[in-house]
């Protein structure tokens, strides 16, 4: 029985450029590169470093998030009074359209796969950069252009797009939406769609080909696993959206009749194409955030992830099922095969349930500490649980008939999306901020942010379930006093204001960390994945040394060698096999 094991020797990483010699800079050393490149703002603008691009992505997407959140507050203010005239009908329609579009297309996805994943995935797999750094830079600039174009729709004649973020034909045709804002909206989807595709390509290539020596697929941390699957889903879904958008553009300007009845087209075709993109998109938004939480919970429980392989297979089956459930958004069209789409939608509950039990199993028997990232992760568990249970209800066509396009659905998807993108997203932000900037965020302000957000979240969305069941449709600018929806709407508005208020503490926290920096050190949380092995922030090509990789948490193994004896069956088998192979060679 060995009681202590000496820390294993460090291994030299491959030269920058990755194991296979592809890469940004395979002819030069990192130090040289850092010295000879441009400096200051020009360096930032011309950089192909995944860390710089990741930070640019995060800043842009957070600005988008705050703009879009401000729109949500105007929407809530309008609805606090049945006949409010805060904004007129046209502006109201533009506001909810842009709120949804900015949040879904331009915050939730890019923040995860352009921001956090761009920064963290190469670090987690031990790579010096993304596989295609210039493509990565192109992806960011397309994203910035697309985001600006969509937002600028507000200043053109006719205003921004005003048909909801789903742009159902024929409301989005040139007769019903003649303004230039609609075209800018479509162009923006084209640009940001390609941006997403490029990032998807990059993620898949990086995770498949640039893993450090010893990192088998079943030793890739779950966040990176989920980003791999997200990348594959992007490659499936976004080209379909692009095709649909191009056809809509042709309908609007070149006289085609793909979505118009008058010319023999089919309006519902748009819904099929859109949701064939749109439902995988939901998981493109959700899987990265599941990955974040799956990485955070073990660290703050001081335990390995429970059911690593189950988690991987659950992610893969969610991704597979997500391509076959699109028409559950179309149950009330009357033109889809209800039982098929209902059954597949129900089945998604199974892998999602596995994830829940694995998260609980990870915490079970652990030593849980509740720093801000863990608090946000637990907030995510509760928010996503509620959103998930109501989602199972909506998988049933009759229940969908009674709640479709009402605030019940609005409450459901906000609980899912805020649960993932905001609770889990900010969990990730608080978790990796010390790594990205080398300084800590204030725990006190972070906890105030969490609790206000958590309270505001429930106060906002629980009343929306009720008001939806009382018959309030979504996307209405006003309603009748006699409907009896006023009190619940006012409660919801108060909750939204609390959510808005909570983000002031987040901003103060950021400012404080810049004015009075608290150094973070390399590994402030005792994390286990490779990103915690390098310095904070990491050097230009990320690593000077790597620990031996024998599990999905090599840094933890390195720091706690006495506990490696408890490794799981799979890992043990792997290690024994490798030791045997090593001894023979």
């Amino acid at each position: 029985m060995t009681t202590t094991i000496e820390p294993p020797e460090l291994i030299e990483p491959e030269q920058p450029g990755g194991p296979a010699g592809h890469g940004p800079d395979s002819h030069g050393h990192e130090s040289e590169h850092a010295e000879h490149g441009p400096s200051g703002l020009l360096k930032w603008l011309t950089s192909t470093d995944h860390k710089v691009i990741g930070k640019s992505y995060m800043i842009t997407s957070l600005v988008t998030f705050f703009i879009s959140g401000a729109m949500a507050l105007v929407i809530r203010a309008q609805l606090s009074n049945p006949t409010s005239s805060l904004v007129n009908f046209q502006t109201y329609n533009e506001l909810f359209t842009m709120h949804g579009s900015l949040m879904l297309y331009l915050f939730a996805g890019p923040f995860a796969f352009g921001g956090l994943a761009n920064y963290i995935v190469p670090l987690q797999v031990g790579a010096p950069d993304m596989a295609y750094p210039r493509l990565n830079a192109l992806s960011y600039w397309l994203y910035l252009g697309g985001t600006s174009m969509m937002t600028l729709g507000f200043v053109v004649a006719g205003g921004a797009a005003s048909f909801g973020w789903v742009a159902y034909a024929p409301l989005s045709n040139s007769i019903n939406s003649p303004g230039a804002g609609t075209d800018m909206w479509l162009m923006s989807l084209g640009l940001t769609g390609f941006s997403a595709i490029f990032t998807g390509v990059n993620l898949v290539a990086t995770i498949f080909y640039l893993r450090a020596p010893g990192m088998t697929m079943f030793r890739v941390p779950i966040f990176s696993w989920n980003m791999l699957v997200t990348g594959l889903l992007i490659l499936i879904a976004f080209p379909v959206l692009f095709g649909a958008v191009v056809m809509l553009f042709c309908d609007r300007h070149f006289g085609t009749h793909i979505y118009s009845v008058q010319g023999g087209g089919v309006p519902v075709l748009w819904q099929h194409l859109f949701w064939f993109f749109g439902h995988p998109e939901v998981y493109i938004l959700a899987l990265p955030y599941f990955g974040i939480v799956t990485d955070i919970i073990p660290v703050f429980s001081r335990k390995p992830l429970f059911g690593y392989r189950g988690m991987v297979f659950a992610t893969l089956s969610i991704a597979a099922l997500s391509t076959g459930v699109w028409a559950h958004h179309m149950f009330t069209t009357g033109v889809v095969l209800l039982p098929f789409f209902s059954l597949l939608s129900y089945l998604i509950a199974v892998p999602t349930g596995i994830k829940f039990f694995n998260w609980i199993g990870t915490m079970w028997g652990g030593q849980l500490s509740f720093q801000t990232p863990m608090l946000f992760s637990i907030g995510f568990l509760f928010a996503f649980l509620m959103g998930g249970v109501t989602g199972v209800l909506l998988a049933s066509p009759p229940v969908d008939f009674m709640t479709h396009d009402t605030y019940f659905v609005v409450a459901h998807f906000h609980q899912v999306l805020i649960g993932t993108t905001v609770f889990a997203g900010f969990a990730g932000f608080y978790f990796w901020y010390p790594k990205m900037f080398g300084r800590m965020l204030s725990e006190r302000l972070g906890k105030i942010h969490f609790w206000l957000l958590f309270i505001g979240f429930w106060v906002t969305f629980l009343p929306q379930y009720v008001v939806g069941l009382k018959g309030m449709p979504r996307r209405v600018a006003d309603y009748l006093t006699s409907n009896g929806w006023t009190g619940l709407n006012q409660l919801s508005t108060v909750g939204a204001m609390i959510i808005g208020f909570s983000f002031l503490f987040f901003l103060v926290n950021l400012v404080t960390s810049w004015r009075k920096p608290v150094p973070a050190g390399d590994n402030p949380w005792d994390g286990g994945a490779l990103e915690w092995f390098t310095s904070s922030p990491p050097p230009h090509h990320n690593f000077t040394h790597l620990p031996p990789i024998r599990s999905e948490r090599p840094v933890w193994d390195y720091n706690h060698p006495e506990h490696r004896k408890d490794e799981g069956h799979g890992e043990k088998r792997h290690r024994e096999h490798e030791e045997k192979v090593g001894a023979n060679s």
Partner: protein
């Protein structure tokens, strides 16, 4: 609720093709219990048992929803209520489990916890149980869905009166509704300012009879939604959607467009009024006398863009002048 009690013996009202009023629904089913019926009873017992415990005297807690003013809506409501109960039990269990774990295992020492990675039998169990749960929910979903979606044949006759099933063609347009009664030569059309109480045009329907709605759209996609019917369906351009309603009790049921359809989406209200069959016949005669005749209500043209003006909610209630000719 009478219908709720009946669910013990007849959990899946099988009122196809022509529905009788639900109060007489179950008597025929009770006569010859087969093996199939026993299984149905067992399933119904399971479905009802849980709400019984939670809801006390009530078999189906409403959880904020309407109990349904049509037989279809009542079926949907029972499914909703049962699923909510299941959801509360499962969601509550998982939520409490998370809460328990978080409280029980909060850090109390620097000791390193046991580093276990997996428990395969446990993982198989918590994969298998959700599969069974969703299979169970899917079964009830399909049975209810078949009921809600069932439509009688064209020109079918109501068994009690021998008259043809009433068909109403509902045409949604920006931003109002037209209700055509081809059997009665009546047509009612209007926007939000028309109809009693500023609630939009009114569709009058007889209670206790099967009414078949043929739903179409004149321009963009609209949503036909009546909260008390627990039902909505898109009005699609170029597609005729067909569904049946069996209103149970006389009353006024407000409805509204639920699918964003442009500027005045929130003003696209209508009401459904359930009246007795004799009142309905009187009403049709009155409508014809006042000129609400089939073919006299042209729909707005869709060739030109709808008027684009910035409006405030108060002025939105005024109908745009270009539309007045169509009313």
């Amino acid at each position: 609720m009478v219908t709720a009690v009946n669910a013990f013996t007849n959990p899946f009202p099988t009122s196809l093709p022509a529905r009788a009023p639900s109060s007489t629904d179950s008597s025929g089913e009770q006569l010859a219990p087969t093996h199939r019926n026993q299984w149905k009873r067992l399933a119904a017992g399971l479905a009802i048992g849980a709400p019984l415990v939670l809801g006390g005297c009530n078999f189906y807690p409403t959880y904020g929803a309407s109990r349904g003013a049509t037989t279809q809506g009542q079926d949907t409501f029972k499914l909703y209520s049962g699923m909510m109960t299941t959801g509360i039990i499962i969601g509550g269990f998982v939520g409490l489990l998370i809460l328990f774990t978080v409280v029980r295992y909060r850090r109390n020492s620097d000791a390193m916890p046991k580093q276990f990675h997996e428990n395969i039998p446990m993982e198989i169990v918590y994969t298998g149980i959700p599969v069974l749960v969703v299979a169970f929910l899917f079964l009830f979903t399909v049975l209810t869905e078949n009921n809600v979606d069932a439509t009688v044949a064209n020109n079918a006759r109501i068994s009690t009166t021998g008259t043809p099933v009433l068909q109403v063609k509902v045409t949604a347009f920006q931003w109002g509704w037209r209700f055509d009664y081809p059997n009665n030569n009546v047509s009612v059309s209007g926007e939000v300012t028309n109809g009693p109480g500023g609630l939009g045009p009114q569709m009058v329907l007889p209670v206790g009879e099967t009414v078949q709605i043929l739903l179409v759209s004149n321009d963009v996609i609209h949503g036909f939604y009546v909260r008390d019917f627990n039902f909505s369906r898109y009005a699609l351009p170029g597609v005729e959607n067909r569904f049946d309603l069996n209103i149970v009790n006389p009353g006024l049921y407000p409805g509204q467009c639920t699918q964003i359809c442009g500027l005045y989406h929130s003003e696209m209200l209508f009401t459904v009024k359930g009246v007795t069959p004799s009142e309905f016949r009187t009403w049709t005669v009155g409508q014809i006398a006042t000129g609400h005749i089939l073919g006299r209500n042209p729909l707005p043209s869709t060739d030109v863009p709808p008027p684009y003006t910035h409006v405030t909610p108060s002025s939105a209630l005024a109908v745009p002048s270009s539309k007045k000719g169509s009313l």
